[in-house]
Amino acid sequence: MRIEERRTLGAAPATLWKLIGDPAAYPGFLSGVTRCEPQTKGRPRRGARYSLRLLVGAAQVGGVIEIVEFDRPQELAWVGITGIDQRGRWRLRATPEGTEVTLRLTYSVPGGLLGLVADALAAPIVRGHVQRSLEALAELS
């Protein structure tokens, strides 16, 4: 299942990157994220790992994620190393009005047919989190 939301915010990409470029700050503005703790030392970079949890329905799902793209100040992507299969991506693109921000979450719940049902039923919850996260980002920037 892929969830994607896009907003144009007034701030410049470099300003937004201060929040987006540090996954440890995600619980502060990403809706539903209860935890995002560094598992590797040093600053955020490609290869850095974090323990991320997202509250979806009755469970906090997630696991260890690894940053696989870190292109300041326009692209940050991660993949799940443990837990459910997931990918996430921030895209920042400068526009005359400020920055077009895209947040994309792709996930797959194991379990065959029931996994697909869970995917579909979780989608509105995850989409709500993504929408609220972009709204929070707009307020913070």
Binding site: A58, A59, V109, G115
Partner: protein, 279 residues
């Protein structure tokens, strides 16, 4: 050989080897979707404080138990544990012999259920596992519905000896809602004594409840369909008995401390509930 001894021997032969480890992380992973669907949409589960469980190492989770022989609180906690820490972290649940005889036991054993026989929990903790135990067991799980908001371990202190012996922290886990998944009328302890179930099966109770699909349900031996009560589970902060009470903690004081902590939390959760079933 008396009839009682014969029956005891036959039932013992039916029990699977409690020490056998059938936990299968891949199987658990494939079951998460079903678990999440049931927990989210049927029980509207709310799990709080799961992050209080130490991130690694052996730990003894001690819960109050509800829901008869179908226990939604342990199901919800299992889902929460496996999604939060990942199925890679070993997590086992100790169960009474009677549960090991139930039809769905093979499924439960693959989820990490093991028989509560002497030595099993010690071996699992020594391997670094998280182990869930319900000291109140059959006594607590079949308490009447109107005693839903009371922790009742019946004075059982084996879990304390286990934690002290293995020097592992205790994490109290408090659940509410399970006792609303059927109308539990009586533990039937007098009936159990009359039928000598305490001698034959270590059973102190022969519970009487009203539950679908049976209507009047005596024994709950094959379980029932639980009503969709809202399940709330609260995981408290770890308790290190040695740090709290010194090198040789008194069992009575430790027991009172743990049960008091749990009762206080259960009172708080009960005060939040407005309507039966709906929560």
């Amino acid at each position: 050989m008396s009839v009682g001894e014969f029956l005891k021997e036959r039932l013992a032969a039916l029990l699977p080897d409690p020490a056998e480890d059938l936990r299968d992380p891949d199987y658990i992973r494939d079951s998460l979707a079903l678990g999440w669907l049931i927990a989210t949409f049927y029980f509207r589960a709310d799990v709080r404080g799961i992050e209080n469980i130490p991130a690694d190492g052996p730990v003894l989770l001690v819960g109050n138990h509800s829901g008869g022989n179908v226990t939604p609180d342990s199901f919800v906690l299992g889902l929460a544990f496996n999604t939060y820490f990942g199925v890679e972290r070993p997590f086992y649940q100790l169960a009474h012999d009677l549960v090991m005889l139930m039809p769905q036991v093979q499924w439960l054993r693959r989820m990490g259920m093991v028989g509560a026989s002497p030595g099993t929990a010690e071996r699992l903790l020594d391997r670094g596992a998280a182990v869930l135990v319900y000291p109140g067991g059959d006594w607590e799980v079949h308490r009447p519905t109107w005693k839903s908001a009371s922790v009742d371990f019946a004075g059982r202190k084996g879990f304390l000896r286990l934690a002290l012996d293995r020097k592992v922290p205790i994490v109290p886990v408090v659940g509410i809602g399970g006792q609303e998944t059927a109308l539990f009328l009586s533990r039937g302890e007098g009936l159990a004594r009359f039928l000598r179930l305490d001698k034959l099966l270590r059973l102190k109770v022969l519970p009487i409840s009203v539950a679908p699909p049976w209507g009047l349900n005596i024994g709950d031996f094959v379980g029932h369909i639980p009503l969709p009560a809202k399940i709330t589970v609260s995981v408290l902060k770890p308790v290190d008995l040695h740090r709290k009470f010194g090198p040789h903690p008194d069992l009575e004081k430790s027991y009172n401390h743990i049960t008091r902590l749990m009762q206080r939390e259960l009172d708080r959760l009960a005060a939040e509930r407005r309507l039966p079933l709906l929560g």
